[in-house]
């Protein structure tokens, strides 16, 4: 059996490497398959905001990191030894042509201006190829391991682009999903423009927001303008997408052409992350947050909610999580799943804790606490 097949099936894996981006550096957490005892390595790039760290599925030793600072701008880092050592690579993110304007918070035109890289998505079949989702919202591509970047400008120049408006966190492209069954198809999500799909490798894009309703915009079912917080897909079901919107948990079974609400019995359907179990495509996870004005768990009690039916019916998972006085948030890119036989679920909080459940959410324990606020969590499942 080849290594790629083993990686896909998740049957022979014996360790995990968790890549944590925080407000003040990156941390790498490693454990064997039991996921009980952890080694904490970091901070890497201390003092810098690390929005996202993600490894190549082709070569897990190749890891990309987005390092940024209000003072010194964007720096990109690359590791070829699993995060032990790092090298700076290219940070030239120039929009294609004259970028024009989008809407500012007050509705006036505002020039497109690069601020930072929010999300990195390495290619499924080439370790040198990686996508970057940036603020102000645009998609960039590198095919030389991050040395140079070029914009896939068909997204930003979509006919609706000049109407896009930032969410409170900035106008960020925060989600990139590559379809493993179709190299020409990918999905992105932008706050607060919505979700988009390409079927020609990124040349042209279609808004895929039918079925979304947002009370925070004048036309509640508009083609664009929705504050999509995160989207997740199981690789075996590339036409099924799950979305955590500003409010509402949504589902699409036609590649985003239409959406239906699956918030069901959640205590609140506001939240940021959403993810899918590695081996059960109908088992999904969210972290309900009180409201758009109260970014902390209801009643100060941190709980993940799991649906085994692809939404609609949800169960609270709190075994091992704080029961009281917990007023943290879990940000959109701060949840991940491993591919071990018993799927592990991971998430990090703005209070600096990273939790793992090695049994699909039934019980949790804290891997580490008191890190800087966690911005992102990714996990690599290693042989």
């Amino acid at each position: 059996m080849g290594s790629a097949r083993r990686l896909h099936e998740g049957c022979d894996m014996s360790s995990v490497r968790v890549l944590v981006g925080t407000r003040k550096g990156a941390f790498i957490l490693t454990s064997d398959g039991s996921r009980r005892d952890w080694r904490i390595d970091g901070p890497h790039f201390p003092g810098w905001e690390i929005y996202h760290v993600k490894g190549s599925p082709v070569n897990p030793e190749r890891i990309y990191a987005s390092q940024t600072s209000a003072w010194f701008g964007q720096v990109m880092q690359r590791s070829d030894d699993g995060g032990a050592t790092w090298s700076t690579v290219g940070n030239g993110f120039a929009y294609d042509g004259v970028p024009g304007t989008h809407q500012w918070y007050d509705g006036t035109p505002h020039p497109w201006q690069f601020a930072r890289v929010w999300h990195l998505e390495p290619s499924l079949d080439d370790a040198e190829t990686v996508y970057a989702g940036v603020e102000d919202a645009a998609l960039f591509l590198s095919t030389d391991g991050g040395a140079t970047w070029s914009e896939r400008s068909g997204l930003r120049t979509h006919s609706t682009g000049n109407t896009w408006q930032p969410g409170a966190g900035g106008m960020c492209l925060h989600t990139i999903i590559l379809d493993p069954s179709n190299a020409q198809r990918m999905y992105v999500a932008i706050s607060a423009a919505g979700a988009f799909r390409t079927d020609d490798g990124g040349a042209t894009w279609t808004p895929i927001n039918k079925g979304l309703r947002s009370e925070q915009i004048p036309d509640q079912d508009a083609e664009v303008g929705h504050c999509v917080h995160h989207v997740a897909m199981h690789p075996a079901r590339p036409n099924t997408l799950f979305m955590q919107k500003h409010w509402d948990v949504m589902r699409s079974d036609d590649g985003g052409d239409s959406w239906r609400e699956v918030s069901g019995n959640l205590p609140t359907d506001f939240g940021f992350p959403i993810d899918v179990h590695a081996h059960e495509p109908e088992t999904i996870y969210v972290v309900p947050i009180t409201s758009d004005s109260h970014h902390f768990p209801p009643d100060g009690r941190l709980r993940v909610y799991r649906s085994r039916s692809g939404g609609g019916e949800w169960e609270a998972l709190g075994n091992g999580l704080p029961e009281r006085n917990c007023y943290v948030n879990v940000l959109r890119d701060a949840m991940a799943v491993d591919r071990l036989d018993t799927c592990g679920i991971y998430f990090g909080t703005t209070g600096g804790s990273v939790y793992v459940s090695p049994n699909g959410g039934d019980a949790w324990h804290e891997i580490v606490r008191d890190l800087p606020a966690v911005l992102s969590v990714e996990v690599q499942t290693l042989p």
């Binding site: 003092g47 810098w48 209000a70 010194f72 701008g73 720096v75 120039a94």
Partner: protein, 98 residues
């Protein structure tokens, strides 16, 4: 010889400790100093001035001889004491936050 002090974050990024010494022909200007820094340390491109526009990043300041030179023209000659290496040019991350 021109003496330059970089902020700690940029020294770490460049893997460089201490004061930076540059050999520059006259006239010595901010533009030429920053260009020389970027040539010697390519990983610092975009961190002091925007890589696309060339403008000083908003939270970066240039101090020398007890003066703030941040708003001077970048092609203006730096003070003689800087050009002679008698005082360092300080590139500083601006104070911000509460």
């Amino acid at each position: 010889m021109i003496r330059v002090v970089l902020p700690a974050h940029l020294r770490a990024l460049a893997r460089f400790e201490g004061e930076l010494h540059l050999e520059l022909d006259e006239p010595v200007t901010i533009e030429r100093v920053v260009a020389a820094i970027e040539e010697r340390f390519p990983m610092l491109r975009g961190t002091i001035r925007d890589g696309a526009t060339g403008r000083r990043r908003p939270y970066v300041r240039y101090f020398a001889c007890e003066r703030d030179l941040s708003h001077d023209a970048t092609d203006a000659e730096l003070p003689t004491r800087i050009a002679r290496g008698e005082e360092p040019l300080l590139i500083v991350g601006a104070m911000s936050g509460g």
